[in-house]
Amino acid sequence: MNVVITPAMVGQVVVSGLLAGALYSMVALGLALIFGVMRVINVAHGTLLTMGAYTTFWWFRLLGVNPYLSLLVSMPVMFVVGIGLQRAMVRRVVNAPELSSLLLTFGISIALVNGLQLAFTSDLRTVEFLTGAFVVGGVALSKSRLVAFGFALVITLGAYWFLQATRFGKAIRATSQSPMVAMVCGVNVERVHLYTFGIASALAAAGGSLVAIMFAIQPEMGQVYTFKSFLVIVLGGAGNYPGALLGGMLLGLIEQLSSLFLTTQLSEAVAYVLLVLVLLVRPTGLLGGRAT
């Protein structure tokens, strides 16, 4: 009892995959930045995304203003929260063994999720805005996903430009190549760490804001995005920033295509099997790690 797969269906899922992929790229870039600069795997990344999502939900619920404008709030707010987390806690584990940072961020994540549950209950929430789709030649383009794709693309490319072209972006890249050399060259490494965590949190928050308009949200939603971001940076090469962009798109496509050609149950397994394969065969990621 299955359906015959037509080119139109493939087109539909490729579109869905790319739309989702841009979002994954943006969120994963944050995780990649933190890992690249500090060698810290931030397990709380998805939770920061959840906080961005709630910012958008309450913005829309309380003010009733276009929810996309809430990005102007969620990103700066989470930037500050990120800096606060770095300053208060993460700073202490930057040069510690990797297990310390894993445990610390895991703890932060649990505390934040429970805080959200206490504050907002675990009820499902939605932002009913821009539902429905444009239908173009048999392919339905979800309006909210299309807009999210646009935002994700612009924000990700903006972040990428920032890393490539600005003085501070160069300091970030220098630090991720070699903290020691960067320090010798006069880069304030501590400050780079601080702002990197802030920027990464803002990227996660942007993801959350966009997700809130597409899907229903609840306090535990973020975990999935932590996993997905992790997958993305392994696929693309940990610490390799263009790799994160490629990895995100790839993950979106893999999820959708495997769901179409195999079954939906298997689609999530496929992505993780790929993760294992990449780690075995090309542990530096598809584009090679650590290069900038």
Binding site: M1, N2, V3, V4, I5, T6, M9, Q12, V13, S16, A20, Q117, S122, D123, L124, R125, T126, E128, T131, G132, A133, V135, A140, S142, K143, S144, R145, F215, A216, Q218, P219, E220, M221, V224, E255, Q256, L257, S259, L260, T263, T264, Q265, S267, E268
Partner: protein, 395 residues
Amino acid sequence: MTRLARTALVLVGLGAAGALIAASALAQGPVKIGASLSLTGTYAALGQNQQRGYQLCAKHVNEKGGVLGRKIEFVFYDDQSQPATGVRLYERLITQDKVDLVMGPYSSAITEAVANVNEKYKMPMVAPMASTTAIFKKGRKYIYMVQSPAEVYLEGLIDVAAKKGLKTVAIINEDTLFPKATVQGTIELAKKKGLQVVFVEGYPKGHTDFSAILTKVRAANPDVLGAATYFDDAVAITRQMKELNVSPKMYGVTVGGDLPTFYQLLGRHAEFVYGATQWEPELPYPGAKEFVVSYSLEFPGRDLSYHSAGGYAGCQILVEAIRRAGSLDGEKIRDAILKLDFKTVYGGFNVDQDGFQVSHKMVTFQWQEGKKVIVWPDELAAGKALFPTPPWSQR
């Protein structure tokens, strides 16, 4: 006798007396009933409703003097919608908290897991929110079903579809115990009614992006789409059907579609959606009206769904069984439950020798102008189904 031995004797005597006093004081205390529920996680909305049912029942029972001359008191834990956590919590309730009796958790998957625990300790468990047949057909002696089985959840949808002359049906489901049982039952029912099943596929628990599976559904182009869901996925699928322009003539979900929150979250998109429910507030069961009124007074603004009523009824059943057994002894309560045949706020209760429910009835409704209108079965129907469901562009 040395002084030491005498002192020891006195101490032992004192200890024994102390234990006796403690034991009799305990006997005067409340009857402790343990339950772990999904208060957070995927099943949170439903588990919380069930918990409110338990709480209200305890309040009512205690207002009427309790049972066996003692008050009843619930000990609650949160299993975070995880079967493994549920197992740990029931072990803890029985062995550490030493509860007198237990009530079931939320969902078939978690009930299936914890049923081994209460079975091990021979402690009867009324399981109001488990409707998978298999749980009750494994030779277990201490678990009892309250609601209709998973297999008949979409019976109303299929029956109405057949009467309207529809021919094809697609079914999608969360890939867990209860929805899978619904799929099996629905396939059987569809065959019996002469409908052709053109597409069946599951998706993993916690799935949020239904693009690919709905693309396949659209390609299969069924007259009817049945989704064996819980709450989160029911909401997501309905939203994404609009995004992907999937428009069958009838679309029904199982669990979750009956919650008022379903309509609040989806708004107009919930119009025309069919849902299955074990219970609705307006059904004329004894005590139902009073239950609805006191629920809204006790929990103002909170969801009232069949999970709440089922929880309430499950507790009613247990209390009635304790009363008839005249004791808290597991075996006696088991005998009393197997003999029970009465109506709760939730409808009929009568189980066979396996503890499988044979008396309770399901109903099918459709969301019409923000209200759930019961459209099946005919003898309980309050209105007619709006048929066919128009394409998204015309809603």
